[in-house]
Amino acid sequence: MLARYQAHSPPQLASAEQVGRFLDWVGASHVDEKEDARNAIVAAAGNQAVVQALIAEIERVKAADQSRALLALAILGETKNAKAQEFFTAFVWRTLPQQGTVIDGEIMEQTQAAQLQGKAIDGLAYINSDSANKVVLDVIAHHPSKIVRAEAINAYLWNHGDSVEARKTLSQFVRSDEAILLDRVRRVTGESAASFNAKLARFLKQHPEVIPPDPERSKAAATPAQPQGRSLPPPAL
């Protein structure tokens, strides 16, 4: 199947009717096709019909297919379109579900909606205008979901080069019990061990309180050890 995949061949994105097929393609796209996708989106960024169709698709799948809703939000965010900003601004403040299926004390419908709002925040932070940043800062200070607040902090910092100035700005808005999120360690694609480990060492020095206690041994009798079995090699890809 992979051998037959036609790389670097994004479909057209010039009309509302083409949005569905483009989302199909972008979802299946490979790591090295990211720029192909971005270029296609930039070319369509001013096309109001495309933007409206992306918004319509988000509304259609937001409770039906999280992976497609995330993709559509991501594509819309790349457009930096004024209508997209308007949509994101309203979307991030939609009321989160307060009832639903509970797992580990977490309302799944609430988490689902909050994850999508977090992706919308990525779009606003990427626009990086005064008006968009105002919304991001307001979310950091006042949004009811930690998922959304945390992503807003992450996205604001990323879009400001993780600068000292950006941290200073955020420190005026971040909740006192979430100040640690300003220093959270981010691992990005292709980052070397040296780079990541230096960031982690700095974080742990800044926040010795996050070093966990030693693990506890169980009081129950230990499970008898079994002899090692033989792992079957999978078929060659």
Binding site: K34, S67, I103, R187, S218, L237
Partner: protein, 281 residues
């Protein structure tokens, strides 16, 4: 060819036997998420792989009756979705020792059935219900509808494989006789930075601190240790940022979202790491 036939016959025989024992599944079996389908389309239903996978994960037909046991290429059903996640886990990672948290050898040994340094022998089952993503008890890993129903945010191959890590790590805890808490093998919450009622500690470690194959190691202290949610987050992060070039964007994006949500919500001493760029796409 003969061997494959024997496997197929065995699978059908086991599955048929299971019909008499099992009621019909109640998980939503009408569709698959885009991430599911996008990954599926990279292999198009690979017979050799699923015939290997059911043995490697010790899947038993009686558990998977009416869930695709005899319909392994129908990707709206639970068993095809289970092996689709295993396909990602088996082949989808880059395994760069200078960039990845852990290697395929670690994630496979945690998820697969065979007794090893990672755990005693386990087997993978499936259950109806929406109160859990997964569970581990007495050598059995059970995964539930929220990992399969396409409308749920965790019904994608990355999140499902992440749960294989999580539950497999409970088996690791059992093997090495650690007590991670009394709330389903976790600590009560909310407490500290953990906002839900099932919390772990995050045992921060650098990249390359564990040679591939050594994730099972511990020294009995917080210096060299993992919790179930931590191995899950690290796997999801590696899917998001350190995957093979062919792993679809929808799979990587869903994994990144799950990783960042968990890292922010489930650790007493959190947050765990943030995975990936915050650029929209």
């Amino acid at each position: 060819m003969t061997i494959i036939r024997k496997f197929i016959v065995a699978a059908i025989a086991i599955g048929t036997f299971g019909v008499a024992l099992e009621a019909g599944a109640v998980c939503n079996q009408t569709a698959a998420s885009q991430a599911e389908t996008d990954l599926w389309n990279t292999h198009g239903c690979w017979t050799d792989f699923f015939l290997w996978q059911y043995v490697a994960y010790d899947l038993r037909g009686g558990d998977w009756t009416n869930r695709g046991w005899n319909d392994a290429c129908n990707n709206v059903l639970e068993y095809p979705k289970h092996w689709n996640a295993a396909y990602l886990l088996t082949y989808g990672l880059l395994d760069n020792n200078d960039q990845s948290f852990h290697g395929t050898v670690d994630y496979r040994a945690t998820a697969e059935a065979v007794s090893s340094n990672f755990h005693n022998a386990i087997h993978d089952s499936v259950g109806d219900g929406t109160a859990l993503f997964g569970s581990y008890s007495g050598g059995t890993v059970t995964t539930y509808c929220p990992l399969y129903d396409f409308t749920w945010q965790n019904a994608n191959p990355g999140s499902r494989g992440g749960d294989f890590q999580h539950e497999g790590w409970h088996a690791w805890m059992e093997k090495y006789n650690f007590n991670n808490g009394d709330v389903g093998g976790h600590r009560p919450g909310p407490q500290g930075a953990c906002t839900i009622n099932s919390c772990d500690y995050f045992y921060f470690h650098g990249i390359s601190q564990y040679v591939f194959g050594d994730m099972w190691q511990n020294d009995g202290t917080a210096n060299r240790f993992h919790s179930p949610n931590q191995v899950q987050v690290e796997y999801l992060c590696d899917v998001a940022d350190q995957s093979q070039s062919w792993v679809p964007a929808s799979v990587r994006l869903a994994a990144q979202t799950d990783a960042n949500t968990r890292a922010g919500q489930r650790f007493i001493n959190g947050p765990g790491y943030t995975c990936g760029s915050a650029r929209p796409f």
